[in-house]
Symmetry: C2
Subunit: 299 residues, 2 copies
DNA sequence: TTGCGTTACGACTCTCGTAAGGATG
DNA sequence: CATCCTTACGAGAGTCGTAACGCAA
């Protein structure tokens, strides 16, 4: 048994059990990969892969059980490298952040600027994606840190820390009829609405609010990103419902924002990382920056 | 990085950082071991071992950090082997039990007999030792399961399950003056006592009882084992204080047992195993036997 | 026929063991 | 001077890549 064999076994899952592709990811030829898998199966005394004819269909039940241990070994090995790298020179390294548009554009700029001042040598990779995929990226070691609002519920493999709370605002062009009179869910529901796609940035809380009031929101346009929503609000398509943090008075002074915190439950943006993952010093620092920045966030 | 290098690094700790001995345990020559350690250090980019001249003094701080991950890898690899073996044939295997004399002689015979009926192919190795050493055996993977009363307190690496409760009895030859009148701590303390060595079989509870009563017990003889104590009680050296389970009416009818459950706190015998360790099916069965047998244990 | 996994075999790389060297107490 | 770690080098084991084969859609 050796690390390459286990890595290969792990890569099979990511490649839909295509040995050729897994071999390529390991920079070896198929035949070598085939042989290594066979050696591992021979050593353990039972087949680990289901073979339909000459096609690999998946793990055997034994294989599935073993994969838990393989994951654990893989993680520990990554940690060893991380620890050693961090020890040798904690000013270099990489930081892979997975987050949504809203966080990337409106929350992260300041923490990242502060972080760069202290760790200019760290290369930052930011992946923007949907909350569901962000979680996947964490689990597949393609991101060190996730920052988002939705889909971060109890997950025993993750450490999840609340970062900051925020609420939604309605944005409308100046002189919009909504601006006259009190804001209620009923009045909001009487206009066409523009807001986030399902699964993004507190969309679930918006639905919760209208559903429990027995109202249905007429959503004309769903987008993953506040800027798209604002653009179409400017075109007069309806009332935008976005995160308060996404309304920038300086740039958005042609729009007016209306506090909805009394109508729609507040949302909580969280930070998540793998529980067993070793955090190098710069990553701990960055998390500290995120958590301290939340204090200054307007509510 | 490969498993042998990590195993070698781990063995250094067990051999007082004697590379020659560690190499021997791996069945390789010193020079090969030396080279492998160097390759690992080179790969990680920093020294892992403190070298005083040409002598290895211990791990570097980096080395210490890495050892946690090495332990984790080692455990997962053992688990893989166990899982595969268990899957291929769960009727063969080995069961390493670490326990004390008292459990081995008076508690385990029945569960082990029952276990053998179901799993005749499993080789049972029983190590008798002191509670402190029993814990060590678990941590060093030299025992799968520990059964004892003392020293099994909260340990985050262990799963500890209560097995059965018992109390102490005083044993004396027939016609001993202690037999006339009520049993009190004071009267007990007035005779020379024979009981377990410190750290064995509820000795801590015995001390607790006498200490909190402000009494000092005159312990003439301490032994690790109930049979030795009974032997000297028969010679008239004094009053024996042993586990109730160690008094066998059939064999010990020349002695009389006096219940001390109202004087000395009850003791609890526990089962422990490593939290991260995979338990093969026969081991889970054996634990089940232990836990169900406790029901039948006389109190 | 193309794609994918397995088998066969020669070339190469890597690790081991032997043996000599050097440091420490 | 005995113990222990390191260095040097040749022999051997193990892995890889090329190439041919087998099976399925």
């Amino acid at each position: 048994m050796n690390f390459s064999q286990l890595e290969l076994l792990r890569l099979l899952e990511e490649t839909d059990f295509n040995l050729s592709k897994a071999a390529e990811k390991m920079s070896v030829v198929q035949s070598a990969a085939s042989r290594q898998i066979q050696l591992l199966e021979e050593e353990l005394g039972s087949p680990l892969l289901l073979r339909h004819g000459k096609k690999i269909g998946g793990y055997t039940p034994l294989g599935v059980k073993l994969m838990e241990e393989v994951e654990s070994i893989d993680l520990a090995r990554r940690n060893m490298q991380t620890i050693a790298d961090d020890y040798r020179d904690n000013r270099n390294g990489t930081l892979h952040i997975a987050t949504t548009h809203t966080q990337a554009k409106y929350f992260l700029p300041t923490p990242i600027r502060n972080f760069r001042l202290k760790y200019p040598g760290i290369k930052i990779y930011m992946v923007q994606s949907s909350p569901g995929e962000i979680i996947d990226l964490l689990h597949h070691h393609q991101a060190d840190l996730a920052i988002c609002t939705e889909k971060l519920d109890a997950d025993e493999k993750l450490v999840i820390t609340p970062c900051y709370d925020w609420h939604h605002v309605a944005v409308v062009p100046r002189n919009h009829p909504l601006l006259e009179g009190d804001i209620t869910l009923e009045r909001l529901a009487s206009f066409p609405a523009l807001t986030y796609s399902p699964g993004y940035t507190g969309r679930s809380n918006i639905e919760k609010a209208f559903n429990s009031a027995g109202l249905e929101l007429d959503i004309t346009l769903s987008a993953a990103d506040s800027d798209v929503i604002k653009t179409y609000v400017r075109l007069g398509l309806g009332v935008g419902i976005i995160a308060s943090t996404s309304y920038e008075p300086d740039n958005d002074n042609d729009l007016q924002a209306l506090d909805l915190s009394h109508l729609i439950p507040r949302s909580r943006t969280k930070i998540a990382y793998l529980k067993q993952l070793y955090l190098p010093s710069y990553l701990r620092y960055f998390i500290g920056e995120l958590l301290s920045h939340k204090m200054q966030t307007r509510n």
